[in-house]
Subunit: 119 residues, 2 copies
Amino acid sequence: MASLPRSGIQGTTMRDLKWSPTEKAVARKAFDRALQRELEAIIREAKQMAAKIKQPSHLWELEGYLTQRRKEIDRKYDYRYSVLPLVFGSLVREGRLSEEELHGLAEDKLGYIRWQATL
Amino acid sequence: MASLPRSGIQGTTMRDLKWSPTEKAVARKAFDRALQRELEAIIREAKQMAAKIKQPSHLWELEGYLTQRRKEIDRKYDYRYSVLPLVFGSLVREGRLSEEELHGLAEDKLGYIRWQATL
């Protein structure tokens, strides 16, 4: 089992992390970029699925796909600073963000992000 | 308020109607044809909506449209003989079936169908 990162101040929890204005700007940009990419991928997939619809069951497959993706997006993209390092870690793990795009965040956040990314 | 049809045997309810094998064949064909038409219209509409998707909100509009239509179809296409004249009446009212396509049904059923069609 992966252990929690110790790169920040000992005893500091994720909830206690302080975000500088610069870090907030970096975070907002990375977050929006990942969300935008994921939504664009869903749009592409939905258009392809729709174009291939030949029978009624394909309609309901498209509906189910959209419902599932909407719920995933709602769950995954949570911008509260108290959970943001885990959100970024998951996005890095899924290949939706590169660590370079998080350049500018301090090591206390990056520790949590890397930890989550390797889970 | 429209009054219930009196074209059948006085006092007979819709639930008591007897369906001959020929009538059942006519009913099945008309029912399947209307359902097929309606599903094809949904497929056309879904393809058009998907082709026009430009932003994420359009995805969820498509999802909502599909969910709504699926529920409508489930509710509307009820093949129990005890309700079938009302189903056909609604389909005639919506222009999804013509009375000619119900040719072969006896007047006791057509009475209910016409009654429902004019509601």
